[in-house]
Assembly symmetry: D2
Homo-oligomer: 343 residues x 4
């Protein structure tokens, strides 16, 4: 069986493992206060053209999302988010467990619109019972979205403008940001740093064993961040492990290369699906494909490939997720394409 | 100006005030451990035909909702509720502030259906990522609903059956339960006690200065309730004030009489609205009416009456709420009806 | 039996009841947005010589303490407090339930010292593991303290100075502030407003049915306070009840008179205790007396008087609390003094 | 410089790195549902003689402590703990951030006594204001303690008996359990599993890159644990990393060997300290030594060794922590001993 069900089925990129091995017996202080973390922070600030940004390293996505949101919001505020957003759907209520409501917005292929965002903020503020409803305190988006889609440069600028006009921090969850960078090179790390008040550069799904780098460009969000990281279980004792991995990632373009491997494999598979006239539930330009298959078709593929079951559909057909990654080999992709052609 | 915008515009029923005055200088221990609370509890247990129920008195609705929900749910669980439910919309995220997600269900005129409820529970439990989503831990409904509508006896039985089958406690918010009792006499307090695991008998909107009586019929929900009441600011120092008020309410049928006054006034007004062919946004049999008015019509009425602004509508028209109460006098009702006729 | 076990054994002062009765059938908007609340706010601002203060009315002490603390602190901060403080001991962990640690300081007769406070703040900030410990975010004191003792003017000024130097808001819990005003007239409401960033003027124990007036003098603490009041169940639907009571309290010096009645009765009883050479556990100048009695002595008194059991002591003796109030009559005091003399 | 300031200054034991390398490109499902985790769980159950235990793997200590405590306690309950306990002092209020009070007990060299524990439980339950104080809901101890000391077999049995008698789950934080196993072989993993309702087998400080294995022997604590792990950011996407590490640890006695290396190095250093008549602040039989040094002595050592600054002491002297680990080499130990002799 070859797994195409998620992008965290392998360990880490060989270069990351090499770096971990090479530094394994070095002695370092804990909690991210070591030389590797310092160097990784410097590399990230440089890549983001954000010399004044704070950079923190956390182990996982739920951790980093919860920490940032809890650090930003006042107790009576909530976070605006697409109704399909990861924090709204797939973190077992982590945001609510920290005391805050996720205020959902309608989505189109996983994306919110600047217009709907502005309306929701205005409506909440102008509500005659404004004190009886949860007021928005920040905005959460992800790039790519849950459906693998991308905000265009113009869309990101518009959302950023709405947030700044409203005085609400914009937080972008970049769990798969490497795939966004590969698929939409017009948006660079510097653009994300400029448009967002906080964003993550995800490592878990892009060649690290684990890790999310959190970049804070907004001064107001910086104080106390390490305290709340520690409090919410987000501060790794051997923080150097994150430093070493991100150093490797931001050396010789490895981070982008990991994204490119995932995206180019996905594009080849997407081509095969389209050629076969298999309908896509959403048309994703990144490393996640959502294809509508009949039961016979999915049974055929699943004899040799593990796929993600996205949506039970209406019985006859179902939506399956095909996910590529930094680790996907040409041979694996070839095998899947051959099987698709044989359907 | 005569107020018809809510049912808490006056103080309390004269008989309640008499009772408070008569007992004012009595000396009693605090925190609900006095003789008046004991007697009020006994009267309520008797009225509910629930001799083993625990009865607690709290000051307000947000308090009692939050306390019950926080007492019932485990940290990873949420509460199922109509998307229009009070806890979902009008308590500034009180449930989320206690760490839990409100899991919303579609509504019809403010009501959820047993079918949709069963489906939501099944879907959450069978989700392939069940551990990554918030699991339902209880069900919240209100009677009357936010829109003044009522669950029929059959609907309440069905919802109760779904909850018991699923092992989820059913909690009914009875902030205006007196109006439900008046409008739908087929459902008695004993029925609510039998169908629900916990419910409230609201006093604030039915003739008390303030107060919600919480009736717990399910043994599992009883332990620790007073502790969490104290913790969440829901235990009144001079608890006797609640005991004295509920004693008065459950003497000589005062509670039901308060509901009947509100409902009969509303029915007369509803008749006038229909006679005038003014459309109702929802057809409520209780003390809240939701009428669609043109700007000219609402301006005319609002010269002498304060009404609730429910929904801005589409510009030309808006939905206004007309609310009667235990305190509404025939003269006030006559005046409003005359004004409606004159539109 | 005559109760001397607490200062909330009666309802309210007759003038308060009169005001509630006189206004009972007036129609008002809810949630503290009525004319009585507005007038009560104005009277309090004037009495405090604090024209820019925000004034809010809540029902009870645990509510107001939790709301203020949750509104002020960031998630990783705690509140400094005497180890005997009400929030540390007698609110079932309400502060912790809102996510914050109570950082306790040693006490002398219920009071903290400015020196110990400065040291604790410095130690927390300079700790080599400062990010791993809870940082102080505000300071809580009460006046009178749990033991009925009072901060002197100089002590209050010093504590205030330490807080301002450290940039930490000072919050004073004045559940019995009327007794402090009566017993230590050198400290006026204007002094409390000047020295504190937030404080309460307690009504429950001083002649109201219930109620705590929260005075916010620090601008930084003002935004969102009503939102969090609503969220934590602290916003009374019929807010006018609080407005009417505080109007009465701040008319013709009733609030102070209530405190004076309590304090003067306590002083007479204290005199009798000292004359009888009964030891005081703490020497309180306010309305709570803590006397060490043998079992025989307490048994004798408790045949006719209900007293508070403060501390089981070492078997032979126990500490009993004698509490007077606005409602204590000369006849009640005479009866207790006679019984003390007869011991 | 050679680091003796903590036991997490290196990466991981070479055998662990080997296992991670060997399995790196294997494809596995996420979230701990892979074959390595399954095998590691089986090995741990066997080592604990606890075939029915649930075993979960989390990344760090604060995470696992918070998750277990939040999963066990009801909202009004707190956790009993030595005043020096890690959760009381060094987790930035993580327990309070999840809504619960840490109820502290006096300690002797970091340990609580069964007698003081029983007294505290009885006092809380019998308090006349029991509903106004936080009730104990579980007991937390660590082995070794914060001071490197160990509960004897008899002490552990007694504490366990008090907990069972009181119906309170006993949770043992075994962040350094390998050192306890090495230093006190009379207490085996099976003993910990028998005496405790939940305990951890710490990996971060014993040869893993990171990881805490949580063993739940009490059936009542099992449901929902994975849900709350996910919610609190404690579920690693590539859970296989924890499985692979614990498989290595529980193969050929590696876990115990790591503890033995740390403890034997510490014993040699302890011998040198005693020979030199340097006073120990606490006499620890495990891998942490706490020695009282003059400024001149610590300056001398710190020219070549990094030590932990435990306590500023009284100016003249200070308490320094010397920490050995699985990674400490004989050469490093020899160097430190030579330096101690040369003081």
């Amino acid at each position: 069986m070859i797994r195409f069900d998620s992008d965290y089925t392998e360990g880490c990129h060989p270069k990351v493992l090499e770096a971990l091995t090479a530094t394994n017996l070095e002695q370092h202080p804990g909690y991210g206060e070591d030389a590797h973390c310092a160097r990784a922070r410097a590399l990230i600030r440089e890549a983001c053209a954000a010399p004044a940004a704070d950079v923190h390293f956390l182990v996982g996505g739920t951790q980093v999302n919860t920490v940032v949101i809890a650090a930003v919001l006042r107790p009576w505020e909530g976070v605006l988010c697409a109704e399909t957003g990861h924090i709204a759907c797939h973190e077992t209520g982590a945001v609510e467990a920290s005391g805050h409501k996720v205020l959902t917005l309608p989505h189109a292929s996983g994306k919110i619109s600047a217009g709907a965002l502005r309306e929701a903020i205005t409506a909440a503020r102008n509500d005659p019972n404004a004190e009886h409803i949860v007021q928005p305190g920040m905005v959460y988006i992800s790039q790519p979205t849950e459906y693998g889609t991308l905000y265009t440069p113009a869309e990101l600028e518009e959302i950023s403008a709405v947030c700044r006009e409203a005085g609400l921090p914009l937080y972008l969850d970049g769990a798969r940001l490497g795939c966004a960078l590969a698929a939409e090179p017009e948006l660079t790390l510097a653009d994300y740093a400029r448009c967002c008040d906080a964003f993550t550069i995800g490592g878990t799904k892009l060649g690290c064993l684990f890790g999310e780098a959190l970049v804070l460009t907004c001064d107001r969000l910086k104080p106390g961040l390490r305290n709340i990281m520690k409090q919410r279980g987000g501060m790794l004792a051997k923080g150097r492990l994150l430093g070493v991995q991100y150093e490797a990632m931001f050396t010789d373009g490895l981070y982008l290369a990991c994204g490119e491997n995932a995206v180019s494999a996905a594009r080849r598979i997407r081509g095969a699906l389209l050629e076969k006239s298999l309908p896509l539930a959403f048309d994703s330009p990144t490393n996640q494909l959502f294809v509508v298959l009949t039961r016979a078709q999915s049974d055929a593929l699943e004899q040799r490939f593990t796929l993600g079951h996205w949506d039970a559909g209406s019985g006859e057909t179902a939506v399956l997720r095909i996910c590529t990654s930094w680790a996907t080999t040409p041979a694996q992709t070839d095998a899947l394409i051959a099987a698709i052609k044989a359907l």
